[in-house]
Each structure stands twice: as C-alpha cells, then as structure tokens.
C-alpha cells in the first residue's frame, strides 16, 4: 500500500527536514521504500514551501504526491493552497496556532496541535516540526514510532538531541491524549 504525505509551511520551519525524517524512518529503520521531494521558491526564508513523501512496501515508481492520504499544515497559506488535494477519508493535521480555518471538511479525519507554542515552551520554536512529528507518530500509522524517533535523533545536531527528544515526546503525548479523549467520547 502506497501512502502519500504532503507537508506544507513556509521556508525556515524545517518543512523539508520533516519530510526527510519521515522518509528516513521508513527507509532506514522500517526497511520500506520512501521518496521525499521538495518544492520551494527562490526565497531563503518566509516563502511558501512543501515536501512530498511517498512511503511504500514496493519500489516507488513516481515520487510525486497526487492525492495525499495525509496532509500536515504548518501555515495558513499552505493549508489553503493544498487542502483540496487531500483524499476523502484522509488525515488532516495542522498547527492550531498557525492555521485558523473554518472550512474543515467532514470527510477528513482532523487533528490539530499547537506545535509551535509547545516548542517555544520547550525552549526553541525551531523544534515545532519535531513536536509535529511526535504528534503524527501518535495519530497516524505511517512509520513505526520508534523508527521515527530514531530518525529524529540521527538528523538533529548531537548537542540538541535531548531537547528534540523531549519535543518529540511532547507531541506524541499530546496526540495520545487526543486519541484517549476521542475514545472516551465514543463509549
């Protein structure tokens, strides 16, 4: 089964790094196949950018996302530009402080987290993408959570490993709480 994931935001948020970590987790630690492609403008920071990840048990023929099953939005512009692509029944995940949207659709499975705020509380808003990855590891099954954490720790600078590890755990715990809350409502 091929999974297409689209991650959107603006330059400087680590959008491409987020896609890279996801693909690395699938390739190196889950021993599956993954591609990560990126799109960005000529600006170094602030312009809109996205990364596209395809994960599969088979070698990947075509490395572009056409109908993502999972979309992760770290900016309002990224959300608006791309949300129509998300497949019916797809998972929409966003940073609740960065995306203020009234038009979430019923056919999506929606999750949100104040990832940037959590990262600031942990000492560096640059880690918002790592908080988000922890959250993703809780709310959708793309790669094994341990694989994802290993890929995070392999990627970040050695001196920041503890902080990033805490950021990942913060996102994962928050995701776990949301899932528990939903389970309680259903019973």
């Amino acid at each position: 089964m091929e999974k297409e994931i689209l991650i959107t935001g603006f330059g400087g948020q680590g959008i491409v790094l987020t896609g890279n970590i996801l693909g690395m987790a699938a390739t190196l630690y889950d021993n599956r196949h993954a591609t990560m492609t990126q799109s960005y403008g000529p600006e170094a920071r602030g312009g809109s950018c996205s990364s596209q990840v395809v994960i599969s048990d088979e070698p990947i023929l075509f490395p572009y996302v056409e109908r993502p099953q999972v979309m992760i939005c770290m900016s309002q512009a990224g959300f608006q530009k791309n949300c129509a692509m998300l497949a019916d029944g797809g998972i929409m995940i966003w940073d609740s402080d960065l995306v203020k949207s009234a038009e979430l659709r019923e056919q999506w499975d929606c999750y949100n987290i104040p990832a940037t705020r959590f990262a600031e509380e942990l000492g560096n808003k640059m880690m918002a993408n790592i908080v988000m990855l922890g959250f993703v590891s809780a709310v959708c099954e793309l790669v094994a959570p341990d694989s994802l954490k290993q890929a995070v720790l392999k990627t970040v600078p050695p001196k920041t490993r503890d902080k990033n590890s805490a950021a990942f755990d913060r996102g994962r715990e928050y995701g776990g709480e949301i899932l528990k809350g939903r389970a309680r409502q259903e019973h």
């Binding site: 896609g19 890279n20 693909g23 690395m24 390739t27 190196l28 196949h33 993954a34 591609t35 990560m36 492609t37 990126q38 799109s39 960005y40 403008g41 000529p42 990947i60 023929l61 075509f62 490395p63 572009y64």
Partner: protein, 386 residues
Amino acid sequence: MASKAVLTGTHFMNGDEACAEGALAAGCRFFGGYPITPATEVAERMSRRLPQLGGIYIQMEDEIASMASLLGASWGGQKAMTSTSGPGFSLMMENLGLGIITETPCVVCNVQRGGPSTGLPTLVGQADMMQARWGSHGHYEIIALCPSSPQEMFDFTIRAFNLSEQFRTPVLIMADEVVGHMNERVVIPAEDTIELVERKRPTCAPEAFLPFRPEADGVAPMACFGDGYRVHITGLTHAENGYPAMEAGAHERMLNALVNKIKMNRDTIISYDTEYLDDAEIVLVAYGISVRSARRAIRAGREQGLKLGLVKLNTVWPFPEEFIRDLAGRVRALVMPEINLGQMVLELERCAGGRCPVRLVGHAGGAIIRPAAILNVINDLVKEAV
C-alpha cells in the same frame, strides 16, 4: 577520526549528495566549482568531504574558471569534477571544448533547471540535452549519462569517471532538479566491490612518447605533468606530438581520432534498460526523472489493457541508434516524455527513420511530466490506429 572515502551502507540521501559520494568512491580528489541551485548540494558536500580525504575543493570565481580548474587538476594527475546548472553549464562550454581537444578526463554534472538564461532556479528542466551534445563549438563526440534516481546519481557518477578515464574525455552527467533534490534509499557498496578504471599511462621511453597517438582502442596513454614525459597541450589543432599543426590534413587526423575513439567504442559506452518490451506495442523511451513518470504511466496503461513498454536511456550520448532503428521496426509507436518542447525526440525520430510514428510528451519546464499526459498521447495513438 579518519574519514572514509566510501561510506558503505544504506543511506537516505538526495541525488546531489549521492553524486558527490559517487565521485569520492570513484577516486575524485579535486572539485572546482561555483554554487548554483539546484546543484549546490554537490559542491557543499564536496567542500566538507574532500578536505577530510586529503583532496582539494576550490570555489572558483565563476564557471569558466571552474571548468578550467578541472583540466589543470586532471593534467596534474587527479580525477576532477564540477557540478552546475544551466547558466553555469553555458559558461563551461568553451573550456569543455578545450577538455575535448586536449583529451582530458574529467566529469561535469549538470543538475538541470528550467531555462533559457536564469529561468527557473528551483524548478526542474531537461532542456540542456542538445547543449550537452553540441554546446561547445566545433565537431566532436561526447558521452552523457542520465540518472533517474539518487541511487543512479551514485552509480552513474562512478561510471562517468570510469568512462572519462578509459576514453580520455570529459563526461557529462545530465541530471535534473528532481533527481538532484529527491531523497531516496542509496546503497553504497563495499569499497573493494567498486570497479574503477584508471587512465592509461605511457610505458615507453620518454623520448619515444607521443601524447596524442592513439593505441588500438582509439585512446592515447596520458602522461601527466611531472611524470617525466615531455607534454605540450594546446587548444589549437595539434599533431600526435601535441604541438600546433594548423593545416587541413592535421585537423582531419586529429578530429577523426577524437570522434573515432567514442564511435568505435559505442557498444562499451551505450547503456539502456528495458521493461515489458516482450509484448509491448507502444514503447516509451525516457531518461532522467521522466523515467519515473513513464513507469507510472506504463503501470496505469497496462491496467487498462494497453501493451506498453519502456526503454530507459542510461546514456543519452552516444544515442543507441541501431537499437532504436531495430525497435522502431517491431513496435506500433515510440513515445518520448521529456521536460523540454522537443530535443531528444528529434534524435529518436531520426533513428526510427519513419518505421513507426514517434510522439513527444513535452513540458516547457518547472514541473515533471504527469503520467496522465503520457496516457493522453498514448490513447490518441491508439485511436488513430483504429
């Protein structure tokens, strides 16, 4: 900690990085270049890795000088490379010709973006394919490879060095932005399993040495500066002793030698893979990132019952003329997806020689070919045939 030249193991890296690692694994120890999107990551990685390995990285003042530095390094005995994109590739053309006429092994990687001119710095193109063939003035043969994945960026870079050493000529890697920037699994094999080719060196007495006299394989042994042989190199037409000889007879001898060493070794140089060709009626001929678009279109088309096949060109120059001519006589049509408005398709058409229809699925640049666009052209071909 001593750094290793060959990072044996499994990696998740982008094509540019894989190109740099391929170069290092091939023994490249000189990089002269100028950063340019989307090739910067090649230079960036070489700038970090080469000093650890005792090699030299120089950021030159521009791409004219970059290309010149490769030739000097190669004559100094090193395996040398540069990486660039369209605007830099244009600047390299003059000294690329100097490399060809002086028979200097070196490797140039062009990570293509949209052009002409500054064009689309961050977006994909495949529109330098004819420039790769004929961009420098004068008549010559060239070798150009087209990787379609980060793994092939690694593998083909090693092959590019081997071909350049074997045939004493600059070799081009015609990559593209998507292959360069895409991350995917790259498996780097054990160092002792990587086959490397080194340039032939002279064994004769120094006084008997003629630096441009080809041997039976069409290639002359190369004495580098400092080897103890007397060597004169020039961009002027030269005799076998390397000294200028500007008259028609000398030019004919020299040019034929330059062209023949590639032509007579075509079978060694040309490389392509085929998929689903046994029963294919319509065959996609693709190179670089467009191979990936073609593969998706083939899978979708086969699900609809269309008998589609693929020829994946690993080398684009020299073009596999005899193979295409034969293939064109056996299939209903040939289709080429490429991110330009018609370049390699001209060569495909020429080689097909009217034996079957040839169609282009072109794109001006800035995005890869959508598989649906390929299927539209194929469906039109099927309708025409009914």
